[in-house]
Symmetry: C2
Subunit: 402 residues, 2 copies
Amino acid sequence: MPALNFNIEKKIKGQLGRAGIISTPHGEIKTPAFVVVGTKATVKALTPEQVKTLGAQVVLANTYHLYLEPGDELLKKAGGLHQFMNWSGPMMTDSGGFQVFSLGVAYEEEGINKFLGLERAEENKKRASNHEKLAKIDEEGVTFRSHLDGTEQRFTPEKSMEIQHNLGADIIFAFDECTAPTAPHDYQQEAMERTHRWAARSLAHHRKLNLGAKLPSQALFGIVQGGRFKNLREESARTIASMDFDGFGIGGSFEKKDMDTAVGWVNAVLPENKPRHLLGIGEPEDLFGGVENGVDTFDCVSPTRMARNGTIQTKTGRINITNAQYQNDFSPIEPDCGCYTCGHYTKAYLAHLFRAKEMLAATLASIHNLYFSVQLVEHIRQSILADQFQEFKQSFLSHYHS
Amino acid sequence: MPALNFNIEKKIKGQLGRAGIISTPHGEIKTPAFVVVGTKATVKALTPEQVKTLGAQVVLANTYHLYLEPGDELLKKAGGLHQFMNWSGPMMTDSGGFQVFSLGVAYEEEGINKFLGLERAEENKKRASNHEKLAKIDEEGVTFRSHLDGTEQRFTPEKSMEIQHNLGADIIFAFDECTAPTAPHDYQQEAMERTHRWAARSLAHHRKLNLGAKLPSQALFGIVQGGRFKNLREESARTIASMDFDGFGIGGSFEKKDMDTAVGWVNAVLPENKPRHLLGIGEPEDLFGGVENGVDTFDCVSPTRMARNGTIQTKTGRINITNAQYQNDFSPIEPDCGCYTCGHYTKAYLAHLFRAKEMLAATLASIHNLYFSVQLVEHIRQSILADQFQEFKQSFLSHYHS
């Protein structure tokens, strides 16, 4: 019995995109779906009930962050991620690869730099621009330093599986090497081939950890890499597809144009009957482009990160709620928005909360921005089911200015 | 028709304490009641729904803070405090007196000092210790500097009424002079007599502002002062009681022993048929002592302020959730607590959130601490109705260690 079922309900005519349902031990994910990020076992500034009410079906937590704090062993003792953070729906954890290889990106996170202070933040930025020297890669795994206390740490495919088994998410990911988008073909190929060997080791160790378990409760997704090179992306898709994964992740650093190229190349090769997750992507244009090119699920921190900064999504583009013009604006962000924030508060109130540095500012803005992304992908789903994907895409993007 | 009704349901035998119901245009307040503080039109880190769910009946916002940011004129345009902040239940605003006279105290607030940075915080502490020089008092009113931008501002009894009418709370307070507890008898008397003249002016201006209104929608409470001197407290209570206020506030800086003395002296004089609010008091011992000595409502920032600092109330006393021992404690703060936090989260999770500096930490801790205070006063109410106040007091305080 598989740990996950995926049923396709409807396809976009003549394209890779589809609407479907992923069934997990903690419930269904109707796809395409926007996955909300809860890095450290909390969707920042929100209770799980608020997350559920805004329509989110699934939360992704970060293996790297939870391994460092509070530690996966502690989470296992706590009964796993779901119980620890009070989220009863489906969950994903990433492989830890992205954060390990792009510590600079992790270092640039708002909270961490605030925590470290300005001086260390600057130092981290310098280090980030040179990040391959920070994380030492060998055939067995990666050695890196904790961004919290500088201690030396080591991830291997086996270690990533052990951590993710302790965390207990419904969907987990094979350990991969996440390359810099600027890396040349030769390096991309070398890293991709290592990622394939690590994929096989992840799968083998996942099975070993499942021995003796009555039912395999966690689904394992293999990650396709290969940068922006068509031959590598297709080779990676073929190789990962040949292994017995429950679904697939598409890794890498993407721009808008990559949806039609890299993402499309991969999904044209991957088997149709397994779900595909695009890691770390969430801009409206990319969501349309990703779905059109066969992506089922997306995760991205940008809705909540923007929200904490006062940047609010609207159907015509982003606004900065701290701008003077909103202080006297007694209308909601969007009168026709169905989110809790728009139903109960004005722009003037939000502007006040941000100016007064009140925590409720982050909560209300995060609810709106997450609702925006989650409902946008839900509308994309409905448009596929109604055979109107292209019409909806055209209509939405003609109003939205990024 | 009065702006407020107060019905006494039951008295504590042989004492000043009672249980009753205050009826306001936005609903009932069953007393004794703990009033939740929402300084800047938000109960810090909570939505109004979370505030309501934890059992709070009434929210008090601060006139001084709202006057400075976002301004009472803006709040009037927004339709008043209730509509601005999405709180449909009863509300109070204080007179602004306390913050104006104790700017040092306002300056010491966590959020403000974080905002100002360490250097200005230190400067403010120095200024605070010398605060009478900062706020210049004359017969007409008080001139002071905004803690936000240093601009010179002026409050008079008339100005305080105008601001509070713009804010639109159900219960508002007459403008008073809040003296330092160390001030000598002569100064307490001088300040008290000025507070009485300001009370008369507040009442007159309140009536003037109500002219033409169909119904008086706001109730005005007069504030009794007089420091720790029995003769002054009694004189102040008699004087304020002789004016046509809808209820009373008891102002000043209090310690535990003052419940039996200053608070008791005042309430023995005040007419029984009007409600009495004790300003800024919230420790468990003081809540019992205050109720026993005739107080109907209390407000205090300490439950939320402590919560943001990781200090959690329990029936045996406070704990600091960031202590190492709680990192592996997979039980709720209090297994028999009915709050949302204790129903869904462990101490280990709260400890993790505080260590990771996650905003949800403040939300969950605030919910528990507010529930603790609100429900404690509700239990006190039930004990009065059941003729068991002394038994409950003795039982609770025998376990609680402050």
